[in-house]
């Protein structure tokens, strides 16, 4: 039998070193992987935040642009139309006794100008939901319904409990209002319904908006897969993404369609209405 203490020790030490290395490799892999994953997740979050910010900015600038157009329409075209009306009135006095034909043309022009003024006012008010800013969601939806009721032969009803709940932040209210607008418009346009019911329910944590119609209904999944979605449903999703809301479409058994949007409440900090034109405020002050 050979005996070799030296060799035994050398191998023992080498083996220990090797084992230590193996052990550290395992530890390293576990921790490195964990850290790397963590970092990737963080990066992902930052990206998501950035996307949301981008969307927010886009929608904000859209609203700002609407305000600007509304303001311009109101200030420039509106003023000019008022002046035109004034001039026409003066002219009508002059041509009053000229003849029947002139009088007829005169009246027609006056009526047209009147109507144009009304249209411009309506467009301005549609562009900027002033009622929403001043009196809140329920009032704005009510107004929206009234406008439609006049023009269409269908029954739209609103059930809401917002009277005694506080006003929501401007962004949240506008989001809900625009979503309601799109849902009702869709129902009118696509579903051939005779009845639309809007439910607005606010509790301490969440705002529920439910729009139900009794029309032909649609398969929400099929539409999402089919690329049938227009800008409407996509717009709803992107608006909701900003306020952390969700939307859920259903096809009830009795027919028709049902959309339920949930948005977390965000009470308004300062309910003072914004100036119509954000850039003009300064000009007024000077």
């Amino acid at each position: 039998m050979q005996n070799s203490d030296g060799l035994t020790w050398a191998i023992l030490i080498a083996t220990l070193a090797m084992l230590m290395m193996a052990f550290f490799v395992i530890l390293f892999i576990v921790f490195y992987q964990k850290r790397q994953l963590h970092q990737e997740k963080k990066l992902h979050e930052i990206e998501k935040d950035y996307q949301r910010l981008l969307l927010d900015t886009a929608l904000n600038s859209e609203e700002t642009e609407r305000r600007r157009i509304a303001q311009d329409l109101h200030d420039d075209i509106g003023t000019m139309l008022s002046l035109t009306k004034l001039s026409l009135n003066q002219l009508s006095k002059l041509v009053a006794d000229s003849g029947i034909k002139e009088d007829q043309i005169m009246r027609k022009s006056q009526a047209l100008v009147e109507e144009t003024i009304l249209h411009v006012r309506r467009i301005t008010r549609d562009l900027v939901p002033t009622t929403l800013e001043r009196f809140g969601l329920a009032a704005a939806i009510e107004e929206f319904i009234n406008k439609l009721d006049n023009s269409k032969d269908l029954k739209i009803s609103l059930i809401s409990n917002t009277e005694d709940s506080p006003r929501q932040s401007q962004k949240t209210e506008l989001t809900i209002y625009r979503i309601m607008q799109e849902l009702v418009n869709n129902s009118i346009r696509h579903s051939q319904c005779s009845m639309i019911e809007i439910n607005l329910h606010v509790n301490s944590t969440i705002i529920e908006l439910q729009v139900t119609d009794d029309g032909i209904g649609f398969e929400p999944d099929a539409i999402k897969d089919n690329n049938l979605t227009g800008l409407g449903l996509l717009g709803i999703e992107s608006r909701l993404a900003i306020v952390d809301g969700t939307i859920n479409y259903e096809k009830p058994k009795m027919g028709g369609s049902k959309a339920l949007a949930l948005v977390p409440v965000a009470p308004a900090i300062d309910s003072k209405p914004e100036p119509l034109h954000p850039f003009r405020r300064q000009r007024v002050k000077i």
Partner: protein
């Protein structure tokens, strides 16, 4: 009766060695029980464990009879390498490594057979059959390489959310520990495992057996947490 008595004495005298043999049953049972063999890698592991158990039991029997059993060990080396590196073939994604594994299996089988003849000039003399000289060391190196390559791929691809619940990570860790402990002992086994004039290295001889047991326990953990539903998509 005599046979059983000799078995018991052998177990009594070589407890650690025998532990490495009988612990094989645990992961094998778990693989069958948890149906882990639906995964190709675990299927290979199952085959490996079965062959290991059979060969170990044969060697155990001959050891109790004080007969040279090294021939079986030598034969198990190419088989072991083929099955274990085959597991990595199914786990590693890089095509280059995959091809490398196939070639290495072919090359290694040829090499280890050559080594058996080289280490035993008189192949008919089974009594003085001795352990291969280089094949075990080469096997250690190759497998360590595949393990590290696989680890590198894991941290590069970041596909596994939690390594500690990833079954194959435990299998790899077990193998890494086992082969790390074995790599410096493997080259001298050729000189220690001999009938005549062996080299004496004391308890170092037992180190591979200890880590083999540990490795088998790691396999068991890996198989235990194997669950088809939670298996990270590959």
């Amino acid at each position: 009766m005599v046979l059983i008595e000799s078995y018991i004495t052998f177990i009594h005298n070589h407890l650690i060695v025998c532990l490495a043999v009988f612990v094989t049953i645990i992961p094998l049972f778990l693989i069958l029980y948890r149906k882990a063999n639906v995964d190709p890698s675990f299927y290979l592991l199952q085959i490996y464990l079965i062959t290991k158990l059979i060969i170990d039991l044969i060697m155990f029997h001959y050891a109790t009879q004080r007969t040279n059993n090294l021939m079986y060990y030598n034969l198990s080396i190419p088989l072991r390498y083929a099955l274990l590196s085959g597991m990595f073939y199914y786990k590693i994604e890089s095509a280059v490594y995959k091809r490398g594994i196939i070639y290495s299996i072919i090359g290694f089988v040829i090499f280890s057979i050559w080594d058996i003849f080289y280490s035993n000039p008189d192949i008919k003399d089974l009594h003085n059959h001795s352990m291969v000289a280089y094949a075990t060391t080469v096997e250690c190196l190759l497998l360590l390489f595949w393990i590290l390559a696989y680890f590198y791929e894991i941290i590069r691809m970041l596909k596994i959310p939690n390594l500690l619940t990833f079954p194959f990570f435990w299998v790899c860790s077990g193998l890494l520990l086992y082969y790390s402990s074995f790599i410096f002992i493997a080259p001298i086994l050729h000189y220690t495992e001999k009938w005549e004039n062996p080299l004496y290295i004391g308890f170092l001889n037992l180190v591979p057996y200890i880590f083999e047991t540990l490795c088998l326990l790691f396999f068991s953990i890996g198989v235990w947490i194997f669950s088809i539903r939670y298996y990270a998509k590959q």
